[in-house]
């Protein structure tokens, strides 16, 4: 193992390094968002720390608390050929800028007949487990994945975080990268500099013959640990990490389930009308007759994110439920 690959970094470092490398490589990349400058602390989660000192405040622009203007500004700059990276501090605040994302960023390429792309990236953070209650914790990726024209990315490791953010910044279409507030300080192996992970491609994080568990973001690591444990009982779990929610890598998902004939889908977002429902529908449409057991979703509860730790811990998807679903399907 080389010295570089032995290096471990946090998610926060991964995002920071991706931004740094992108800004160094391309003058059209710039960052905007609330408190992103070093004078303001380098971002709420320190992801932009050091960048304004290194690249100046023209390219690292602290904004007022104006989500609609932040995303709209990114849209306009992207239409002019820049590669803006907008930070929306928390994903619930993206609701304030959805007009710009849904009606403009997602559609301008199409509505202009392909003349103007919108190569922007929105980085945003969210996730339950921090005690922030109902307005600071929602996983809203399904809202965005429902909109043709947007790309939606949820990384599960620091290396993926860096590689997927780099790909998003240099993608010619609007990308939303969803970061997890409870994972910023988790560590994992660092990738080599400049490594990009392709968008729209899922990753077989662990091959296995008995059942496919399809996940993305935070549950992936937990499912991998579970798969290790179940291997001791003779159940070989294949873990498919979507990496990109939309456009969905349908082929990798369907090929996996076609092999294992069993599927469990795990995500942190609430279950109703969610990503798991979409994947389950596609599996059912294409593989219904081949399935050895029903497709099962394990998601967070269909409620707002509660405040009390006693409730919040029960709100979240439960790994023991994933284990039960796997064992039942593999009986």
């Amino acid at each position: 193992m080389s010295a570089a690959s032995a290096r471990k970094i946090t998610f926060q470092q991964a995002y920071n390094e991706a931004l740094d490398e992108a800004m160094a490589a391309d003058d059209s990349v710039f960052v905007l968002g609330e408190d992103v400058g070093d004078k303001e602390g380098g971002g709420t989660f320190k992801v932009t720390s050091g960048l304004s000192t290194k690249y100046g405040t023209s390219r690292v622009r602290t904004t007022p608390i104006s989500e609609q203007a932040i995303i709209g500004t990114a849209v306009g700059a992207a239409v002019a050929g820049m590669r803006p990276v907008a930070e929306i501090m928390l994903m619930n605040f993206i609701t304030l800028g959805l007009d710009q994302l849904v009606n403009h960023a997602a559609k301008l390429r199409y509505m202009s007949g392909g003349q103007t792309g919108v190569p922007l990236t929105v980085r945003t953070a969210t996730g339950a487990g921090g005690g922030f209650g109902g307005q600071h914790s929602d996983m809203l990726e399904a809202w965005l994945a429902h909109v043709p024209g947007l790309k939606v990315v949820v990384p599960s490791s620091p290396a993926d975080a860096k590689g997927l953010l780099l790909s998003s910044i240099f993608d010619d279409d609007p990308c939303v990268v969803i970061e997890h507030t409870q994972m910023y300080w988790s560590k994992g192996p660092a990738p080599e500099p400049g490594v990009r992970i392709p968008l729209g491609r899922a990753h077989i994080a662990r091959p296995g013959r008995d059942i496919s568990v399809i996940a993305y973001g935070r549950p992936v690591g937990e499912v991998l640990a579970l798969a290790d444990r179940l291997a001791g009982d003779g159940i070989e779990v294949e873990v498919v990490d979507l990496r990109t929610i939309s456009p969905l890598d349908e082929r990798t998902v369907l090929e996996s389930v076609a092999r294992t004939r069993r599927a469990v889908i795990v995500h942190e977002a609430v279950g109703q009308f969610g990503v798991g429902a979409e994947i389950s529908a596609r599996i059912g449409e294409e593989l219904h007759g081949d399935l050895a057991s029903p497709v099962v979703r394990v998601t967070s509860a269909n409620t707002p994110v509660p405040f009390s730790p006693a409730l919040e811990s029960r709100y979240l998807y439960q790994i023991p439920d994933v284990e039960s679903a796997i064992r039942k399907a593999c009986q």
Partner: protein
């Protein structure tokens, strides 16, 4: 009157006459049933659009709205491509995929046309941000109606443009109605220009039907932007003769007010002034009008003769590259 002013006014008339002829042709086609699209006539707002774009080069950026054909023509978007887009033809500015509400023509600086009231303002801030970072000297003009000044995007955009001192001009075309709601019933400020005070930027109100006055006010605002002195809010007061949408009976409009506005119709008013001031004679203006009519007829014929988009256009341009995996495992 200086020669340059005379030239400018005549140029504004030429553009306004073209806009008026284009609008009349489109309404004629809609009335006869030869065309069936949602259409938002700019009749009455021709002169302010022409006077605004008179200060812009092709590389300057324009953002406008669903009521935008006057702004697009004034900015220089080719008439035949605009008509083809409205007709939903593949030869249109956007291959027929945008329609009249979403015209884009980057080579003439028509960057975004939005159907969402107020949304163009933050986008204009972004275009101007790119100019600020690159130092490319371009100015962005964003046109919107009085109704848009009541939406949150207006506030966020003006504040941010002021904080960053961006090269952008916010041009409010105040036609006194937000859809069917009278100005005073929906807007707390007596003058939209007064709202500039809240952002610490200049706010100027002008009679948007007065070509010379509009040329003067927008000219100062564009010069400020180009000089790096920051944004300006311009309120150009005008009137909307054809209601909110084509076919709008306009029952909510006051008859006396309408008649008074019609008596001040800006296109014939500018025409009369050009003759009175000796800028142009009747024959010159008749030539300009005939030229406008000929261009419009040619554009309409081009559009009518153009093919519709093929079905492959349905799924192209969603992303830059097709990224779906349609195949299913065997």
């Amino acid at each position: 009157m200086a020669d340059s002013d005379r030239t400018s006014l005549l140029s504004v008339y030429r553009t306004a006459a073209l806009i008026k002829a284009a609008d009349e042709k489109l309404r004629g086609l809609l009335t006869s049933g030869e065309l069936a699209v949602a259409y938002y006539s700019p009749r009455g707002q021709e002169v302010l659009a022409a006077a605004t774009s008179a200060h812009l080069d092709a590389q300057d950026y324009l953002v406008t709205t669903y009521r935008g054909i006057h702004d697009q023509i004034a900015k220089g978007a080719p008439l035949d491509l605009l008509f083809a887009e409205i007709f939903g033809r593949v030869t249109g500015t956007c291959k027929g995929k945008g329609g009249p509400m979403h015209v884009t023509h980057p080579s003439t600086g028509v960057m975004v046309t939005t159907g969402i009231v107020g949304s163009g303002l933050p986008i204009a801030v972004g275009l101007a941000t790119s100019s600020s970072i690159r130092g490319d000297g371009r100015v962005t003009v964003v046109c919107f109606g009085d109704g848009a000044s009541n939406i949150g995007a207006f506030h966020e955009a003006l504040n941010l443009a002021a904080v960053w001192k961006l090269p952008v001009v916010f041009v409010c075309q105040n036609n006194l109605y937000a859809e069917s709601t009278r100005y005073a019933d929906g807007t707390s400020a007596a003058r939209i220009a007064d709202r500039a005070v809240g952002y610490g930027i200049p706010g100027e109100r002008v009679d948007g039907n007065d070509a010379a006055a509009t040329l003067d006010v927008v000219g100062r605002a564009v010069a400020r932007a180009r000089a790096g002195e920051g944004p300006t809010l311009v309120e150009a007061v005008t009137y909307r003769f054809m209601g909110h949408y084509f076919g709008d009976p306009g029952a909510y409009m006051d008859a006396d007010e309408y008649a008074a506005a019609l008596a001040r119709d800006p296109v014939p008013a500018l025409r009369a002034r050009l003759i009175a001031d000796g800028v142009a004679d009747e024959a010159t203006l008749a030539d300009i009008e005939a030229e406008a009519t000929a261009k419009v007829e040619a554009a309409a014929a081009f559009a009518a003769d153009s093919p519709l988009p093929g079905v492959a256009e349905l799924t192209s341009d969603v992303y830059r590259e097709a990224v779906y995996h349609e195949e299913v495992p065997a």
